[in-house]
Symmetry: C2
Subunit: 591 residues, 2 copies
């Protein structure tokens, strides 16, 4: 083998006249009257190499045997293409390489799908032949983008004095949170490690150890049922600092994101990023991760309809619920009665019992419930800034149902009406979160973030008396309607942590059994600390303009948490299980 | 809280006259005639802060309550110390901070051990209170060194066009190699993922995908019995490239190591690093990872003793074995007969049936076997360059026993005789490895590295006829007697990979069942490729001058693969096992 002198995709007019050696894959071969043209591809792009008996008969003969995806080494001279042959669509389009020598480094069978972007192939086949799928420029570019993203993040954090510190993957199972992946121990039969859902406690302990600034780009594991942007294993940019305020941590995080946006997308973020309280986000957008690339805000009209003759509205208000509306500006003509019925069905999935609507016309409000608004039409029109052509949509229900239903409807309308500018990146901090959520089903409070989140100082006393009223020093960063990450200040005093566990319904014994080591640690000079964790897969997915994190993971699992390429998970030898003192309790280990 | 303006350990004469705000831990408090001196510590070091009623009565009163490991915020003025008070041992020794304001951020109980270097504490207690152990400057420095090492490695590889690409942690179990850690699947009951022993196949597949240059600093898992430098999980600098020769990969690797040595230790490595063949290393040092910081080479004397009357020697040669010697220069006086008996016992652990010896005196050879060498003394003395005062030590046995025994003895002698300069870093490539090792016990060949290692091109035909004679395109990098990493060119053609599996005793079906996806992949235009994997823990351990990788891992496991801090592994709820269709087969889940 000769040494490669340059990547295929990087040959340009600068090399004209030079001899280059390339290694790459045959994208396409064309035979044209005694000449052969091959598009040779490597990770940086494609270049046209030309076989001509005038340059080398031997190479031409060799090229006749060559098929798609063969791996070639070619040495030749870079020449300018004739004006007519210039291809303006590729960066190497003004030149070609006249081949003097060619070696077939490896052959290839016909691939199960074409190696090019935009080819329609089933996800399963793509995963089964992932090594071919990753040859497609789109996939290779997404993974390059991922590399560039992590590199930018690391550089920023290194500059800021963060120490990249590894935490264990074989850790302790905790019943809080999502389901753990377990790892049976051979040395301690009947005992199990758990793969970490996040290194939360370890990074806090590193603050206890005085590390001051920690980061890690780290794999996390959750054995949850899968959705589009969920995988059994995912990657987190995990950050923790001591002695900083929530605001200071946010500032650092957004500086980091600004670097990422600039270096990967050439986009300059306006800092500081906007902050919005959780309550305001729920009120205006019905979501704690609002997509603010478009308006369609939720508007409160409970006061206007509290005494309405339309009992659905007045009844909801009387029952402690509320009525809110979205004004779909100018969309009256876009939605037939049938279309609106479909929207009603859509909000039903979010618990709404119905979707009321009005169309605004020059003559006034029209629609089945218009008659109830004859007296209040002007007030409603003013509140909703309604104009002829607008479609007004209403949900009346308990507060959380209204938020869920209209929050979802808002997104649906935006997509229907094409209101989303896909080229923009709208970041937003959601701050001032409630500390706890009430779990109706189990009649107890659960953490809105996690049990180590610091309550607002002025609310700590409420933990015992009115836990639902406690707000937290917590913040989420949202991008285009996706939760990109979340963080908080953490509890650093044992008494507060104990109160928190009590609010979550832990007995003292349970708290000690699960988190005794943390409670102990808090007594040995634990510093005030806080941090954030960002979902790397999601961030790169959004930067790459994709809608599934599988597109930015080299070897993801499919929707059933399996890898069609290696066929993991698989059966194992009985001897392996015996060593672990385990037995499978089902007859047929079926899929 | 005020904002910290500088780390404690970074205050210097440059800040004299300035007001600084520090956050740190109380290392020591001294009360001296109405004044209080506190050594305040953070991750960067220690600074002396002074409480004096002239600066602030309130702060002084506060300081009276302060104990070791309290977390303080202090604001004060940096002043030069009086000449007599200068402490030349610490970087902040010429200044101190006159405290104007002080806040106790957190209190601390008495710690179970002092937070300072060199304190004698049991390993178990250190791990149980790891967050305190990590406050010791020595530990914090080791982990900073680890950060700096990975940063240097990443920067080098990024510059060389390597793409940092993540591979899965939930993978397929393979019976080859060490024992896997298994992860039961809930979605596919009775099936298991395995945690990767290395991302070997995934990185090869990334080469198949045309990524050209891959790296990852990645966790690997082996469920092996633990030794000093082994942990259930460890970290690998994992590298793979396409189209490069073994030599080119070595060159890149040593450039990377040179950067690491320069940036972490200020040491300039002389490149290229020395190369030595496996056969030569075994012959001269009895080890495939020789420590070349000292001599004490093994010397062949089989030819001299083949006809000796000393039957132990001549018999060994006659039986196809050999006799080798180490000349411990000038060490005759260091070893009494009893000491030599102890050495004999030592080599016995490596399978040697005995250790013969001679002391060289002015009058000639002395010792129990001297009488057998009366005729050949001159030849032996010449061969071993023996001089009066030397101690000659011999082992006669099968080749592998001689190597093991004398290789180990060599290290022991060097330590006994203090021949090792601990300040030097002796890197060495071991090249030209045998492809296979014969496993006497099971009567079959196993891979010396792994089953994907490329045989030397000229030996491929021997795979079927004389597998033991096949050498590989493999190379290990050795530092001070430790295997730092190993790599090879990989097989990239299906036929060769099939022959390799056959040589390892796989049937065609077994090969397909385990590695069918790789065999398939090799048929779709797989490029020539190769790489290397370096043990990061070991590298940092050696850079830090430690002798156990636990000293450079933030949260390691103990010798029984458990974490005394979090108490992992632990029992889990029966419901968790039911979901996984598993049952524990032992009555008492005991330790």
């Amino acid at each position: 083998m000769s040494k490669r002198t340059i990547y295929c995709g990087q040959v340009s007019e600068a090399q004209i006249g030079q001899t280059v050696t390339l290694k790459g894959w045959v994208q396409k071969r064309r035979d044209l009257g005694g000449l052969i043209f091959i598009d040779l591809r490597d990770r940086e792009g494609i270049v046209q190499v030309v076989f001509n008996p005038d340059f080398s008969k031997e190479a031409l003969t060799g090229a006749e045997q060559v098929r798609s995806e063969y791996v070639l080494e070619v040495t030749g001279t870079v020449v300018a293409r004739a004006e007519a042959a210039i291809n303006p669509n590729i960066s190497t389009g003004k030149i070609e390489v006249e081949v003097k020598e060619m070696t077939v480094l490896n052959t290839a069978k016909t691939t199960p799908f074409y190696i090019e972007d935009g080819v329609s192939v089933s996800d399963e086949l793509r995963l089964q032949y992932r090594y071919l799928d990753l040859r497609r420029p789109e996939m290779a570019n997404s993974l390059k983008l991922r590399h560039q993203t992590t590199k930018t993040i690391r550089n920023y954090l290194d500059e800021q004095g963060f120490l990249d510190t590894e935490t264990p993957y074989l850790t302790k199972s905790t019943p809080e949170g999502a389901r753990d992946y377990l790892v049976p121990s051979r040395v301690h039969p009947g005992h199990f490690y758990a793969l970490p859902q996040s290194p939360q406690l370890f990074k806090q302990l590193l603050m206890g150890a005085g590390f001051d600034r920690y980061y890690q780009i780290v794999r996390c594991f959750r054995d949850e049922d899968l959705r589009g942007d969920r995988q059994p294993e995912f990657t987190q940019v995990d950050i923790e600092t001591s002695f900083l305020s929530a605001e200071e941590i946010q500032t650092m995080t957004e500086e980091m994101l600004a670097k990422v946006m600039l270096e990967t997308k050439g986009v300059t973020l306006q800092l500081p990023l906007p902050r919005m309280s959780y309550d305001e986000a729920m009120d205006r957008y019905g979501s704690d991760k609002p997509d603010v690339r478009f308006d369609l805000e939720l508007q409160q009209i409970s006061d206007l309809v509290a005494n309405s003759d339309f009992k659905v509205f007045s009844g909801a208000v009387a029952n402690g619920g509320e009525v809110k509306a979205i004004n779909a500006k100018g969309a009256a003509a876009n939605y037939s009665r049938k279309d609106i019925d479909a929207l009603g069905e859509f909000v039903g999935r979010y618990g709404a019992k119905g979707l009321a609507w009005l169309k605004v016309e020059e003559e006034g409000l029209k629609g089945p419930i218009a008659k109830f608004f004859e007296a209040d039409a002007a007030a409603l029109i003013e509140r909703l800034a309604a104009e002829p052509g607008d479609l007004l949509l209403f949900v009346a229900d308990q507060k959380s149902v209204v938020a869920d239903a209209l929050g979802a409807l808002r997104g649906r309308l935006a997509r229907d009406l094409d209101l989303i500018d896909e080229s923009v990146f709208e970041f937003l901090w959601i701050v001032d979160w409630p500390l706890l959520e009430y779990d109706e089903e189990n009649g107890r409070y659960t953490s809105a973030h996690h049990p180590f989140t610091m309550p607002k100082a002025e609310h700590i006393s409420l933990l015992e008396t009115d836990p639902g009223a406690v707000y937290a020093e917590a913040y989420d960063i949202v991008l285009n309607g996706y939760e990109l990450g979340g963080g908080s200040l953490r509890i650093y005093q044992r008494e507060v942590q104990e109160k928190m566990f009590a609010a979550l319904g832990f007995t003292e014994e349970e708290a000690k059994a699960q988190f005794g080591f943390l409670l102990d640690a808090l007594e040995y000079g634990f510093p005030p600390h806080g941090g954030i964790a960002l979902g790397l897969d999601r961030l790169v997915m959004l930067l790459a303009g994709k809608d599934n994190i599988r597109e930015v993971i080299a070897f993801p699992k499919n929707g059933r948490a399996a890898d069609p390429l290696t066929e993991a998970p698989s059966e194992v030898a009985t001897a392996q299980l015996q060593e672990l003192a385990l037995e499978i309790t089902i007859e047929e280990a079926g899929e």
